[in-house]
Amino acid sequence: MTMHVLHGGRDGLGSPSPLARLAPSRWDMVALPLVLGLLALLVFGGHEVAQPLSQLERTPITLDPWTLPYYALRTTLRMLAALGASLLFTLVYAPLAVKSQRAGQILIPALDILQSVPVLTYLSFTVTFFLGLFPGQVVGAELASIFAIFTSQAWNMTFSFYQSLRTVPSDLEEVCTGYHFSTWQRFWRLEVPFAIPGLVWNMMMSMSGGWFFVVAAEAVTVGSTTITLPGVGAYLALAIEQRDLGAIGWVILTMLGVILLYDQLLFRPLVAWADRFRADTVQAEERPTSWVLTMVERSTLFRTLGRPAGGAARATLRWRLPALPRLSAPRLSPRAVRMGDYVWQGALAVMALYVAVHGIQFMATGVTWGDVGHVVLLGLATMVRVVVLIVLAAVIWVPIGVMVGMRPRLAAIVQPLAQFLAAFPSNLFFPVAVAAIVHWTLNPDIWLSPLMILGTQWYILFNVVAGSQAYPVDLRDVIANLRLRGWRKWRDALLPGVFPHLVTGAITASGGAWNASIVAEAVSWGDTHVQARGLGAYIAQMTTDADFPRLVLGNVVMVCFVVLFNRLVWRPLYAYAERRLRVS
């Protein structure tokens, strides 16, 4: 009478015979060369890393364009390694912050601070440590470089995962509890899948952010010696030093190729794959596709390789650790819990005080009150730049974005383009700006500023286009029906509708601009150095001078500015947009 007896004769889903399952499909003709090629590149790149440092000195960077593919390979591998490390960091850090309320009280503010510290600073503070790990080996310098890239990629991914973990649907959580999922199973069956769409999107942003700092991250300076790792960034640095415009052109070309390649081979498949993890249960009309994903899913090669791995991974989900003896801990009274909280917060306060005192003592060794006032003023200058640029970018891109979003066919072209431009490291164009400023003797305080937002303005365009695509059709009909025109149409109907999206885009753009300030406020072309007055230029200068007390001061001020700016401007604005203007 059980189900098993009723349907005992049945075997699987009418699966074909094992032999038929192994027959290659036409996708294998693409899959096989692709896999072998990638493997060969990986082995080659890995081999180069395992060399002694002296090898680097014997083969200095050259501007020969034919070396660029090799440099691009090295840089890309570094970026991917950093991305992998960021992912690992995210998967550990965010759950800790969510599962333990007390850990969260320190981990989340820490993340806020970590993400506002400029990448260069991390590099200058950790180089010695990494070189010490593998004395005389390239690996040490590689690790330092990878770590620097990691610091430009990890934080937003971690935030994204943290947000997802906190918004996991409660009914699915009940299923996990009610059906006795282990913590491990819950993690991989519910929490990670739920977070994947957001995580993939943030990985793409991280990759773009990483490219921006690769130039800085491939030149590892220790004391007076600089180790230059072979890579696109080092090539670009040399091209700038030697004022070789042709070489810069070659770098731009290479970057176009590299971005196209990893977009096709990595991110498009990821986005298409991530689509199945959207938590909504409606079927979208148009779903992202990727030929690589199709190949992976349909070729016999991948299926044969993937089956044992998938099976092994799933087996871990069935693991049951022997049940720990249930601690018959007395149920703590609310008062006891509150006491515990006080003690914990007290301990945190003492720790924070300790760090603050030491930091101040350290700064006091080389910083005067005059410096502090000066740096705060510089911070204000940079802030004014960020605000003005965001407003300008919004004024330019909102009308264009709305126009584009209302025309689906145009949007289909502009969206990927905006995404591509956002991924493109805009610092490749900095030399052009320097040349222009020098040629027309322009004021660098004004004319260097646009560089800060060159790369991140696209997020504004991207989000506004998405927002106006989501603009309800019936409201559009109302606009036509009431014959709303001109400024009135924008003020009453269109702007409020896209405002939440504009804020989302502007938050991203502003974060990027703060980060970019250290690269964009001080630019070189050969021996011509153009500098704007600002906090970014100050930090860049202190990094070069290895003036650590002032470097710390600059960073502390930078962190304060970014965190306060987020708290006092973006968060209220975002909350307002969500509360009042969300079109649903």
Binding site: M1, T2, M3, L13, G178, L190, P193, F277, Q283, R318
Partner: protein
Amino acid sequence: MNLTPKSLRAALGAHAPADLATAGVAPAAPGPRPLPSGVPILTVKDVCKRYDSDPDSPLVLDNVNMTVDRREIVALLGRSGSGKSTLLRIIAGLLSSTSGQVAVAGKPVSGPANDVAMVFQSFALFPWLTVLENVQVGLEARGVPPAEMRKRALAAIDLIGLDGFENAYPRELSGGMRQRVGFARALVLDPGILLLDEPFSALDVLTAETVRTDFLDLWGDGHLAIGAVLLVTHNIEEAVQMCDRILVMSSNPGRVAAEIEVTLPHPRVRTDPAFRQLVDHIYGLMTRRRKAAPGIAETLAAGLSLQLPHVSTNVLAGLMEMVDAEPHNGVADLPVISSALQMSTDDLLKVAETLQMLGFAEVVEGDIRLLPPARQFAQAELDVRKRLFADHLLQRIPLASHIRRVLQERPNHRAPRPRFETELEDHMSETAADETLKAMISWARYAEVFAYDGDTAQFHLDAEEEA
């Protein structure tokens, strides 16, 4: 205060169901462990539950006692706020009770119970897993080997009528199919007791009926290797159609107010007079026994602790108009209105009781009787309606007169929302206070007794009155 469930034997179906007892023969293979006869599959003893750990917080469940025997389908029938879903979650081990014991198959429940599987109102499927994988997750959690897991899951999928959908993702399925996956996921575990948390209320009427009868057929034919079923619902007809026993729960706090045995033979037909009579009877019970259906005296005595349901004035006016008109002429049978309006019992009772609270109607024994002001309201023009509504609001709802008095006393005739919010939260939970204020605001706006500005979160008297 110990309310023992009152057994009201509804001796309506004369013939006992033919083979319900024989169908309950223990299944051959890995079904639930045979229990010593006489031990109920579920016992709930003296269970109390408070809102939170604060011992002064309001009771959600007050001294609930119940049992479920093998081969029984039992319904927990109640309005929202009766704590029935909370009770179900305590039984499942998802929540812990403040006091009292729950035992499943003789074993006390502390934490997620082993012999229990639950079907959710929202289906709660993993959107990124296929139908087959969704059905397998529970087995995976028990460490069942892959081959056996697959075999059992396919059998369950087959049984529940999802054959051919194994590799579909939930978003490709209709609501009915999704809930079938929910059932298969629970059934594949062969649980001692299957908990159904309003499993049909997110489905449209036709689909719900199909899934329900399919489930009853499987159950009646003895294809299900489960011991018993506990159904939470607010739908009286659903409870009568499916269950052997119905526990009617009263609200605020939740208690078992009545127990009704249903002995009508299966399949039960809704148009059958005996069926209708039983439904009417339960309607009567639910309207009679509700404590929080207060009359004038109770309303006024409740003061600020009176919770207001967020019912639109359009709906209130609509019900008054309908009952006032032919053929009801001021008195109507609630079940009749419920089916005419396609409105759930829960929603209809909420509206009817709001009218009672406002002094427009009386709700007694499953009937609604309009009072003279309501009949006047039904036939009046808009401004007369507003005046009538304002009078009743200020006389009957202490919060309304309180807010108005505060506004009149203040020199600028303005008061911030949090001022009243904190006051209400002394008497009720945060969410209840929020809903009460929302209801208050929308009624006051309609009646024009005072105004509210959402941007500044301030109450104020109307500009005209200030002048």
